[in-house]
């Protein structure tokens, strides 16, 4: 505390400025980021938006509801193209759909339990971690993460399919179009649109309306309008096939249709976003969503069966159904376009659901030190930016590999989500046994049945989609889990090492001596600045060291040093015949620290360039030296920056021929 200041002095003390007044402009990167993403948000602006049931339905159900756009189609494709059973396919479509809806009903009852038990932050990861342990949680989490990646790929591809079914000229450009959809969604999420319900509400409800309209019009025409005519297929051959239906084929088709269940878990992940009482509203919304999903799935399958729609490469089942139901009049045409537009929008939005869930789930993993810590960081706009970017890249890869073809993506899909269904339901079952709260027997039955059914479906999907690509996921998930466990060990051992006796270390006695070494290449502004700084450190010994790669230059420097009267700081010239500057510096520093009671500060002048490309004109000796010196205990490197172009210098005419460097 400065003592002896007079009262007169004190009365002139000004308060601190409201914000630290530092006249340093923001970096260019930050300014560009602010342009694209908007103003950086403060922590206390973290949105705690609560959603009413209608909005929540729109936000959380888009993934689940959108899968009706391709589920019936994928069942049909398996029956028609894999099984080649001709018109028999339309006989089996409805029973398979109904079987899937039974699974849906079981899932809904199971998730009603989960929502009530985990109203704060549900999701398979937390439930599994709480009840089954960290390792199964990694499996559940990774399985779900791979599915979120595929949700992006499948939804965007299906959205593009809806687009080119209506506008065939888009077909050749489907991959770039799909990728730009992903980019748009990613940027939107980086800006933080994730829970602004209104953006979701419109497309979700448009899709629901368009599907209801189509199905009800179809039903009306079938009952009162003289029945529905069969659609003339583009591949009539598929209908003439006479293969026999086998149980294997039926199960395969069932597995393909399993994609319809993806997204059912979304509500249980987002219970805290509901208005109070959260779990009650979440449960009701879940039931409404399941009813809508069931009705739409059933309706589309029924239309497809009734009109014997054969999916083709360029026309989806829904687009053919809409065309057939609405006819070719002007109104029919308009309604067809409406259906396609609504379908495309909801599919693209379904990808957005993944963008909300993936980063959050990844941050859970990272918080438990099972994924890179960068994933826990909230970015510019308070969203998990790194997770969003990771998902965008990961989602783009399957789109490119499979050329935005939904049918080729579907075999990879759904196995992950069913794995996490199974684990989280098993976790719930175990919780009932463990806690024995009132009504636990019913809960155990519901979740036990859920775990059993979803487990069975997982096996069916694994077996029957194995060849089509599920094998990839079945290999990928264990490999990933293994990787995450290794990562966790690395993080844990790092933490143990860093925290071990940290307190004692902080209070350990300091070393007796402090020696400062300034590394000098030549006598110029940047080294002068380093020497000036070195002298403020008031060390026990201070010296400048020049590593002599060129003896003439070294001699010149030494002479200049004495001539300018810089003798107060001794200059040591060290020979370096093999020109390995880092190695020579290491030897000098190691020698200074050799007695074990000296703390060595090495100051390295570093030139900072105003333009980034200037960096490429120079080597990075300073960084290389610093890296090498860090190997010496008690050697500490400080860079002393010198900003080129910061100080105006009287213009000197450069002699031609001396522009080397």
């Amino acid at each position: 505390m400065p003592s002896g200041s007079l009262a007169q002095d004190r009365s002139t003390i000004q308060p601190l400025p409201p914000t630290p007044k530092v006249a340093i402009p923001e970096s260019k990167g930050f300014r560009v980021k602010s342009k694209i993403l908007g103003k950086a948000l403060d922590n206390d602006q973290l949105a705690h938006e609560r959603l009413g049931k209608p909005t929540a339905l729109a936000v959380f159900a888009s993934d689940a509801l959108s899968s009706t756009a391709y589920a019936s189609e994928e069942i049909l494709r398996t029956l028609l193209f894999v099984g080649a059973i001709g018109t028999l396919a339309f006989t089996y479509l409805m029973p398979i759909t109904i079987a899937l809806i039974v699974v849906l009903v079981i899932l809904v009852f199971s998730y009603r339990q989960t929502i009530k038990a985990y109203p704060s932050a549900g999701g398979a990861y937390i439930v599994t971690k709480d009840n089954l342990g960290l390792l199964p949680a990694q499996v559940a989490g990774v399985a779900l993460l791979t599915d979120y990646i595929l949700t992006v790929a499948v939804s965007v591809s299906a959205g593009v399919a809806a687009l080119y079914s209506a506008v065939p000229s888009v077909y050749p450009y489907r991959v770039p179009v799909a990728l730009s959809f992903i980019a748009i969604i990613a940027v939107g999420n980086l800006r933080g649109v994730k829970e602004s319900g209104k953006i979701f509400a419109v497309p979700t409800y448009l899709f629901i309306i368009s599907m209801f309209l189509m199905i009800l019009t179809g039903v009306y025409k079938a009952v009162f309008g003289g029945g529905l005519a069969h659609v003339v297929p583009t591949h009539p051959a598929a209908l003439q096939a006479t293969g026999a239906a086998s149980i294997v084929l039926i199960l395969h088709a069932f597995a393909s249709g399993g994609a319809a269940m993806t997204g059912v878990e979304a509500i249980s992940n987002g219970v805290p976003a509901f208005k109070p009482v959260e779990w009650k509203h979440a449960r009701e919304t879940l039931v409404v969503m399941a009813l809508l999903l069931g009705f739409m799935f059933l309706g589309i399958s029924w239309l497809a069966a009734k009109m014997q729609i054969v999916p083709s490469d360029t026309k989806t089942v829904i687009s053919q159904a809409a065309q057939a139901v609405y006819g070719s009049g002007a109104l029919g045409h308009a309604l067809f376009w409406f259906t396609q537009a609504a379908t495309m929008l909801i599919l693209v939005l379904a990808a957005n659901t993944s963008f909300a869930d993936f980063p959050r789930l990844a941050s859970f993993h990272a918080n438990d030190a099972f994924m890179p810590k960068q994933l826990t960081k909230r970015g510019h706009r308070l969203v998990f930016s790194n997770g969003i970017i990771a998902l965008a890249i990961a989602g783009a890869i399957p789109v490119i590999i499979f050329q935005a073809d939904v049918t080729r993506l579907i075999p990879l899909y759904a196995i992950g989500v069913f794995t996490s269904f199974t684990l989280s339901q098993a976790g719930m079952a175990k919780k009932h046994v463990k806690d024995k709260e009132s009504g636990w027997r019913t809960g155990l039955f519901v979740n036990g049945l859920g775990a059993f059914t979803t487990g069975l479906v997982t096996v069916v999907i694994g077996v029957f989609k194995f060849q089509g690509g599920a094998w990839f996921i079945m290999v990928l998930v264990p490999v990933m889990v293994f990787g995450l466990v290794r990562l966790n060990h690395a993080y844990e051992s790092e933490k143990v090492e860093l925290e071990h006796e940290a307190r004692e270390a902080a209070e350990a006695p300091i070393l007796r001596y402090h020696s400062v070494i300034v590394l000098i290449e030549r006598l110029d502004q940047s080294s002068a600045r380093a020497i000036q700084y070195a002298r403020t450190l008031t060390p026990d010994t201070l010296k400048a060291v020049h590593i002599a790669t060129d003896e003439d230059a070294a001699a010149e420097l030494a002479e200049e040093w004495t001539r300018l009267g810089l003798a107060r700081v001794p200059l040591e010239v060290v020979e370096c015949p093999d020109r390995r500057i880092s190695r020579c510096a290491l030897e000098v520093v190691a020698e200074a620290a050799a007695d074990g009671s000296t703390e060595v500060s090495v100051l390295i002048p570093r030139r900072e360039y105003p333009r980034f490309w200037h960096r490429f004109l120079h080597d990075h000796t300073a960084d290389a030296i610093a890296k090498t010196l860090s190997n010496v205990p008690h050697a500490n490197v400080t860079f002393v920056p010198y900003h080129l172009g910061a100080k105006p210098v009287a213009t000197v005419e450069l002699p031609v021929g001396n522009i080397a460097e």
């Binding site: 505390m1 400065p2 409201p18």
Partner: protein, 99 residues
């Protein structure tokens, strides 16, 4: 009780009794001379900032970064800055300040 109207921090001067309202921008905990724990917080409003020093405290419930507080006390000097020693303080409801 006739209370002083809250004063813009930028207008506070040494040896004044003031009441100010502001946001906690920085906190600093250190053992004072003689091992007495001291909590120092920097409180700012749109006009300026000063330091509030709570002697003998390591923490105060609700006093954390970003919290809005009302402080009342005598402005003194500590390490060349304006400070209020052991002010009376009131926690204010949370609000986000544009800045």
């Amino acid at each position: 009780m006739g209370r002083v109207v809250a004063k813009p921090i930028g207008e506070c001067r040494w040896r004044e009794r003031v009441r100010v309202v502001g946001r906690i921008r920085a906190m600093r905990v250190q053992p004072w001379e003689g091992g007495v724990a001291t909590l120092e917080v920097t409180v700012v409003d749109e006009t300026g900032g000063l330091v509030a020093i709570f002697m003998g405290r390591q923490s105060l419930a609700g006093v954390r970064l970003g919290a809005h507080v009302e402080l009342e006390g005598m402005v003194v000097e500590a390490r060349g800055q304006l400070a209020i020693m052991n002010p009376e303080y009131t926690l204010l409801p949370h609000q986000s300040t544009p800045h």
